[in-house]
């Protein structure tokens, strides 16, 4: 009600244009990946593995959006208000990513998951001991029933959470006045806090399934923490990037992207830079000190065969550069600098996730065609739906007293 829709026309047109582009790119990418699965461009194994990378990346981004939305609703941080609709839309697009994974579940489990290889498991007591986690109630020669059940369960839980937040926000948009909006906003904090707990527990299991189980002898209790921080970081950088790109267009003009917000965004990116580095380094240090192959194999693979160069890049551009960049007050004052920071985060997060996932499949540094096709394929469709959801509602929370104070307060 405070932002007449006509003002937003330009942003909405951009979103619509972005959607069409995303759809085309997405379909082309996915078509190429699917063709690859049938051996049209060589070894189908590479197509499935690349597809898993695309899935993992966009799932993590979607879950990052969901996690950030939950955090925003639970803590009611002012700084989240301009970004929250983007996250909610991103979270709502998770089921698309899950659905697009069906080809792997149906055709290519063996190409992705080592524990699907009956002949390996037969010789390996450790894998046999773990097999109930994937195959129960069948044994390791059967169908991975438990894994598939969990897959459906994850999709359902994430959909329900995203949908709940979506509905509650819509209710607030349609409230009769800001007072009712405020009441609704406060009513969300309890359920959102509870959902953070559920989210993290489910996320942890999902990260075992889609991440750790790719190297089934290896495990780390820190892994899900590293991933959740990384996912949230990705979602934050994306939302900040989008909002700052549109800073000259209503409704994102003026106070919506003004200095105090930018300072908080920059500071939160600084915090996530440090926290991500802290948890990542802790895992490395503990693994290194223990020096047991069971644990070190994860890093041995990633510190050899060319992968170490990506690791160096990550150390420099995921820690040192953003550390100083986001620490500097200037970054938050000068919009292009913060925008560059967000782009840097998006780029290095992509490198990091690639470095996390691809070495599970390849001992030497390599990028297959399918890593790219799946990445743009999943990404295209994710954006298509996410931008569609974004366009369905008001771009900023309506009936939000705190936002109205900012918009109509001192000029």
């Amino acid at each position: 009600m405070s932002h007449p829709a006509s003002n937003e026309q330009q942003v909405r047109e951009r979103i619509a244009r972005g959607r069409s582009l995303a759809l085309v790119v997405g379909i082309v990418g996915l078509a190429a990946s699917l063709a690859g699965m049938f051996g049209i461009f060589g070894d189908p194994k590479l197509a499935f593995q690349g597809y898993h990378f695309g899935f993992f990346y966009w799932l993590l981004l979607g879950l990052g959006c969901l996690g950030m939305s939950l955090l925003a609703h639970a803590t009611r941080g002012q700084w989240t208000l301009p970004l929250i609709r983007i996250w909610e839309s991103g979270a709502r697009a998770i089921p698309v990513v899950m659905l697009l994974y069906v080809p792997v579940l149906a055709l290519g489990m063996k190409h992705v998951y080592e524990w699907m290889h009956t002949e390996h498991v037969a010789e390996d007591p450790v894998l046999q001991a773990k097999s109930p986690f994937f195959f129960w109630p069948a044994d390791y020669t059967g169908t991975p029933v438990f894994f598939l059940v969990r897959f459906v369960f994850y999709a359902a839980v994430w959909f329900l959470m995203a949908n709940f937040l979506w509905k509650k926000s819509l209710q607030q948009d349609q409230a009769k006045d800001p007072i009712e909006g405020e009441v609704l906003s406060r009513q969300r904090t309890g359920p959102a806090s509870g959902m953070i707990v559920a989210f993290m527990l489910v996320f942890t299991l999902a990260m075992v399934d889609f991440g750790q189980s790719l190297m089934p002898h290896w495990f780390s209790t820190m892994y899900a923490v590293i991933m959740v921080v990384g996912g949230g970081f990705l979602a934050l950088a994306l939302a900040v990037y989008m909002v700052l790109q549109w800073r000259d267009l209503p409704p994102y003009t003026g106070k919506i992207t003004y200095m105090p917000y930018r300072r908080d965004w920059g500071n939160f990116m600084f915090t996530l830079t440090v926290f991500w580095s802290y948890v990542s380094f802790s895992q490395l240090l503990i693994t290194y000190s223990g020096n047991l192959y069971e644990f070190t194999q994860f890093y041995l693979r990633r510190n050899d065969g060319g992968w170490q160069y990506l690791a160096y890049l990550i150390v420099i551009f995921h820690f040192f550069v953003p550390f100083f960049l986001f620490l500097a007050p200037r970054t938050k004052k000068v919009v292009p600098q913060l925008l560059a920071g967000a782009i840097l985060v998006l780029a290095i997060r992509t490198v990091d996730i690639f470095w996390q996932i691809k070495p599970f499949f390849a001992e030497t540094l390599s990028i297959s065609l399918f890593d790219i096709t799946a990445f743009v394929g999943f990404g295209g469709l994710w954006f298509y739906f996410m931008l569609g959801f974004l366009n369905q509602r008001a771009l900023l929370p309506q009936n939000e007293a705190r936002l109205m104070e900012v918009a109509h307060g001192h000029s």
């Binding site: 009611r76 007072i179 406060r186 009513q187 820190m222 923490v225 240090l285 047991l292 007293a401 104070e405």
Partner: protein, 478 residues
């Protein structure tokens, strides 16, 4: 020039009653000025007796040696390390409140920071005693520092125990500096109010000639922010390094990658529990405090406990699940041994105290019930002690080879030293309440000015935290 996003505190009053600058000063400063209530004498007495017990235990320890404790192979760490970690953890609430909540512009911290910082200092003192005496030769403890010496003895820098020396001593130094610097304007207030010459002189010396000029405040604010920046990494680093004492090894139950953040969360959890354990009775003892440590403050502290409690509980669940998922016989045995081994009671007590009981804090009514909150905070304190017991004793008493298994039982000297440190802690807290303004007077006045008093219409002080009228919204918890 820095506009700030309006903090959310206006939605929840930070003060009760009609406040004026004079009233804030008076309510807080008169606690150390007035004669102390009889309950103070009782509590101080209890603390003093505990301190005597502490001294006795230490003297006997020095005379006889470590044999008076229950430690032996395979459990060579026992109470000393359990209590060390417990105390260090308790200190973390103070640092979190002083540093991180300041950087997060959480105005509610102003009412509890002085108190929690004092708690940090005394808790770290208690913590430091244990490893110092656990070395067996505390008189050569300076060997832990890399001092050039003719024996060419050099510390083992690869050992996390050595990192602890630096982490904890830095932590203590910064905490003391932070606490003392925050005190300077208040000590000057005490000086100006003092009636006796002696009090004037002592407070005058301690407040370094503070006159409250604009230049003084400028320097003060800069130094405060710098110290907050310095302390922030300490909140994470100190307990992370303590966790590495365990995690660097390959002992099942210790070699766990999630240990650093899980320890930090546990530390904040236990720290806030201890703040509540102390604040609730202090509010009864000194009713004036209730105007500044309101039910909103208590509610926020309870929420922090709930959140950090879940991180800790997540750690337990994670250890259980990955213990099984590892398919490693030693890891799996550890889980079984925790569940059903000789110390099963300690393990289930930990799950009950830290996992189950804090769930009550979801209920707003319980967060507003002081008696229940007090009981919950005590339960959490006990639970966090059991957590360290489980980590130290259960992992050590049965590790890889059955031939190396053993049992551990604390002796009366273990208990007397532990209870002695609690006594010392109580004594110091009550001495602190007796001699120093318990809440930060200057900061409270500042925040009161900014939030409730300093604005004229909408434009007020565009410079600092521009305040705004309380929103029209109603509902939600308050």
């Amino acid at each position: 020039m820095q506009e700030a996003i309006k903090p959310k505190v206006q939605e929840f009053p930070l003060f009760e009653g009609q406040q004026t600058y004079e009233r804030i000063t008076d309510q807080i400063a008169r606690i150390p000025e007035n004669p102390h209530p009889p309950a103070w004498t009782v509590m101080f007495g209890i603390g003093a007796v505990g301190t005597l017990m502490l001294i006795t235990s230490l003297v006997w320890l020095l005379i006889v040696g470590l044999g008076i404790w229950g430690i032996n192979q395979p459990v060579a760490w026992g109470f000393a390390i359990i209590n060390f970690v417990w105390w260090i953890g308790i200190g973390h609430a103070g640092t979190l409140i002083s540093a991180i909540l300041l950087l997060l512009r959480q105005a509610w911290r102003m009412s509890i920071n002085r108190f929690a910082e004092a708690m940090t200092i005394f808790a770290v003192m208690c913590a430091g005693l244990f490893p110092l005496f656990h070395t067996g030769r505390p008189w050569v403890a300076y060997w832990l520092f890399p001092l050039p010496n003719w024996l060419a003895m050099w510390p083992q820098f690869r050992s996390p125990l050595e990192w602890d020396v630096f982490a904890v001593s830095t932590y203590f130094t910064v905490s003391v500096l932070f606490w003392y610097m925050g005190l300077i304007p208040d000590l000057a207030t005490m000086r100006d109010r003092a009636k006796s010459t002696l009090a004037k002189v002592i407070h005058g010396i301690l407040s370094w000639g503070w006159r409250g000029s604009a230049v003084h405040w400028l320097r003060y604010e800069q130094a405060y922010l710098l110290l907050a920046g310095l302390s922030t990494p300490l909140v994470l680093s100190v307990h992370s390094i303590v966790s590495l004492d365990f995690a660097i090894s390959i002992v099942p139950g210790w070699h766990v990658t999630i240990f650093p953040p899980y320890f930090v969360a546990g530390a904040i959890f236990s720290g806030f529990a201890m703040v509540l354990t102390l604040v609730i009775p202090f509010r009864i003892l000194y009713p004036g405090l209730r105007e500044y440590i309101t039910m909103n403050h208590i509610d926020w502290m309870a929420k922090v406990m709930l959140a950090t409690g879940w991180i800790v509980f997540y750690g337990y669940l994670s250890e259980m699940f990955f213990g099984w998922y590892s398919a490693n016989q030693f890891e799996q045995f550890l889980v079984v041994n925790r569940f059903f081994g000789p110390y099963w009671l300690a393990y289930w007590a930990l799950i009950f105290c830290n996992g189950v009981v804090p769930q009550l804090l979801w209920i707003p009514k319980i967060r507003h019930n002081l008696l229940l909150l007090f009981i919950i905070s005590i339960i959490v304190n006990i639970g966090m002690w059991f957590e360290r017991f489980v980590i130290v004793v259960i992992s050590l008493h049965r590790d890889f080879l059955t031939s190396a298994w053993g049992q551990y039982a604390p002796t009366i000297w273990d208990w007397s030293l532990y209870l002695g440190t609690i006594g010392f802690f109580i004594m110091m807290m009550f001495l602190f309440a007796r001699f120093v303004p318990m809440l930060a007077i200057a900061e409270l006045k500042d925040i009161w000015h900014r939030l409730y008093h300093g604005h004229g219409g909408h434009n007020g002080h565009a410079g600092k935290h521009a305040p705004a009228p309380a929103p029209t919204g109603k509902g939600g918890e308050s």
